[in-house]
């Protein structure tokens, strides 16, 4: 339990700072909190939407957290997710008539491969050419937007639609909505991709904690010198770890592309790759932490949509502010602990003097 204290303190600090910003903009923090809660967990449909928003965040959060275990910073999840979603849509359009039992698994696999390829290139540039993975990821993000734009607006464009979107994917590729399947989530687009996300979370945890490969990854990240002397190839582990991280991020588009839109629309990633960084930093120690953080941030995103209408001065962008502040607070928890210990020591020495 004590391991969770810094996390809750970080969230508390972020909430406090956001309240100050809200007050400065002339809105009441209580009203904002009420809007956020009502919009995220107020009704079954609202909660369904929260889980729907959380689904891609679980994938991208797991991707970033997995790379962090190997000592790598994958801030390219947005691009990997974009490439994965495009690959899923492309398979679903080109091979539209495949039978159901093979169709969607094939699309999901294609998404994984596309994301893994995108991540693998960043890792290759790091290992062979010394390009730092942070810079490589950022540049590949921009390239992926261009490629996605080309596929959606030119190659597979649906010319009958007014929107910038591809042709629809085959019926057999659709992931079922949970409201039809088991009657949860109200009328939200929550679909079976959520269970896929939970399964991947479980798998990630098992691989990292229980397998030799997971051990190699954690050695490479935690004690590279030790890993090298134990015969682990740092560059091979880096390449594999980063490619798999990219692959996990590549799955993140499944919920929107296969489960809801049934096509790829421009900007379907909608920043989930970047929020995934915040998710991983908040809950990334274990996979269930990622799931919890993703649901928290999903709720924040869903709830903040109502801020545009229900308040005068605040917009949905407040969710990004809260997320950024949580990351800052989590990142600086070392200093917070130091400050706490310092205050405690001062308090105890003053008490000792009184006696």
């Amino acid at each position: 339990m004590t391991r969770l204290v810094p996390v809750f303190v970080s969230i508390l600090i972020a909430v406090l700072l956001t309240s100050i910003l809200t007050l400065a903009l002339g809105e009441s923090p209580l009203v904002v909190a009420e809007v956020l809660l009502r919009g995220s967990i107020g009704t079954p449909t609202a909660f369904g939407y929260t889980l729907y928003y959380a689904t891609p965040l679980i994938f991208t959060g797991l991707a970033v957290a997995w790379a962090l275990k190997a000592g790598l910073f994958n801030i390219g999840a947005e691009g990997q997710m974009t490439m994965g979603g495009i690959a899923m849509a492309a398979v679903g359009i080109v091979l539209a008539d495949l039978p159901g039992f093979i169709a969607w698994p094939l699309a999901v696999f294609a998404g994984f491969l596309a994301g893994a390829f995108w991540g693998g290139m960043v890792a290759w540039l790091k290992i062979r050419r010394g390009v730092h993975e942070v810079l490589g990821s950022i540049l590949f993000n921009f390239i992926s937007y261009g490629i996605a734009g080309f596929v959606i607006l030119d190659l597979l464009r649906n010319h009958e639609s007014q929107n910038p979107e591809t042709l629809p994917i085959g019926q057999s590729y659709h992931l079922q909505a949970l409201s039809d399947l088991v009657g949860i989530g109200g009328t939200s687009p929550l679909n079976t991709a959520f269970f896929l996300a939970l399964a991947v979370a479980l798998l990630v945890d098992v691989v990292l904690q229980r397998t030799l490969f997971g051990l190699r990854i954690r050695w490479t990240g935690g004690a590279p010198e030790f890993a090298r002397r134990s015969g682990v190839s740092i560059s091979a582990t880096t390449l594999k770890a980063f490619a798999i991280s990219g692959g996990i991020a590549g799955l993140a588009g499944a919920s929107a592309v296969l489960g809801y839109m049934h096509k790829a629309r421009e900007g379907f990633a909608a920043g989930a790759g970047f929020v995934g960084i915040a998710v991983a930093l908040l809950g990334g120690a274990r996979a269930w932490g990622v799931v919890a953080a993703a649901i928290l941030f999903g709720g924040l995103q869903k709830g903040s949509l109502d801020l545009d209408l229900d308040t005068e001065n605040i917009s949905r962008d407040l969710a990004i502010v809260v997320q950024a502040l949580i990351v800052l607070a989590v990142a600086s928890r070392g200093a917070l602990v130091e400050l706490w210990l310092l205050l405690k020591a001062k308090y105890e020495s003053s008490k000792a003097r009184q006696v």
């Binding site: 910003l21 490629i147 962008d317 950024a324 200093a335």
Partner: protein, 298 residues
């Protein structure tokens, strides 16, 4: 011939924000403060400049406010990175996120919409003798020369480099390298601020959401490619600006009888950046400051 002139002109124009951002980043990174937050600082200063110009109508006040807001952003980024002993890259990403969230929020409270400031009237932008005639470009080259000279010849430059390479040497002298990093962050932010002003008040006529469009990251690439040295960094910025100018000229053009889709043309600068980084022209002397992104315990 017209095409060549147009190409050179737009290369110079597009290089200005890159030059200011990359040279600012150079100050920060040479002091050991890894800076992936250049993008955020470009956006802050572009927004603050345009917002002040829109509300007061005074471009000089706007320039001052934009540069100061960049400096303040850099100072805050420095304090958060240095004194919390957090990873500078994590802080930088969070900083960029924070800016991406706060600007639309403030923008809506001030101007009623999250998309940007109202269009600036011509007299509230930077006046023509300053905006035209490549004055900002000249200022950026001057900054480059000043850094080239200052890093070698001044006490300030030597201390800056020591904070990034060998902080212990400063501690022995009784100078706190942490504060050098913080102030380097602030100075860097001020330099980046000129780039932001260039975006919203010289090239543009007001702030548009996310108008930096990744230039902060391309500037970072230029800085790395330039081996953390001012003159090669400036050259790298010009190369990337030329790639961007090519991209703009190619838009809507036919190439070998084919319509080149704009979405593909737009990735040319990033492909060039990746390609040049991967091939790594320049050879030796390309190493990062030794103590970059490492906390110091004085």
């Amino acid at each position: 011939m017209d095409l060549v002139v147009a190409f050179l002109e737009s290369t110079i124009r597009l290089s200005v924000p890159l030059l200011f951002a990359a040279l600012g980043g150079l100050i920060s990174e040479r002091s050991g403060l890894a800076n992936v937050a250049l993008e955020g600082k470009l956006l802050i200063s572009a927004f603050v400049g345009a917002a002040v110009a829109a509300t007061t109508g005074n471009p000089w006040l706007a320039l001052t406010a934009g540069v100061l807001s960049g400096a303040l952003g850099g100072w805050i980024f420095g304090v958060l990175s240095v004194f919390t002993k957090a990873d500078h890259i994590v802080v930088g990403i969070a900083f960029n996120m924070l800016v991406a969230g706060i600007i639309p929020t403030v923008c809506r409270a001030m101007f009623g919409g999250t998309g940007g400031t109202p269009q600036l009237a011509i007299e509230t932008r930077m006046p023509a003798p300053i905006a035209g005639d490549f004055t900002f470009f000249g200022a950026a080259l001057l900054l480059c020369w000043m850094l080239h000279w200052g890093l070698r010849e001044t006490k300030w430059g030597l201390r800056l480099k020591a904070a990034g390479d060998q902080p212990v040497a400063l501690i022995v002298q009784g100078v706190n390298p942490n504060w050098i990093r913080v102030w380097a962050g602030a100075l860097a932010g001020a330099c980046v601020g000129f780039g932001g002003i260039d975006l919203s008040m010289v090239q543009g006529s007001g702030y548009i959401r996310d108008m930096a469009g990744g230039r902060g990251f391309i500037a970072l690439a230029a800085l790395i490619l330039g081996g953390w040295r001012p003159v090669p960094t400036a050259i790298a910025c010009l190369v990337f600006a030329a790639a961007d100018a090519t991209q703009m000229l190619l838009q809507g053009q036919k190439l070998f009888g084919f319509n080149v889709p704009n979405s593909l043309v737009q990735i040319v600068p990033y492909l060039v950046t990746i390609g040049v980084l991967a091939l790594r022209f320049g050879g030796k002397g390309m190493l990062a400051p030794k103590a970059i992104n490492q906390p110091i315990n004085p």
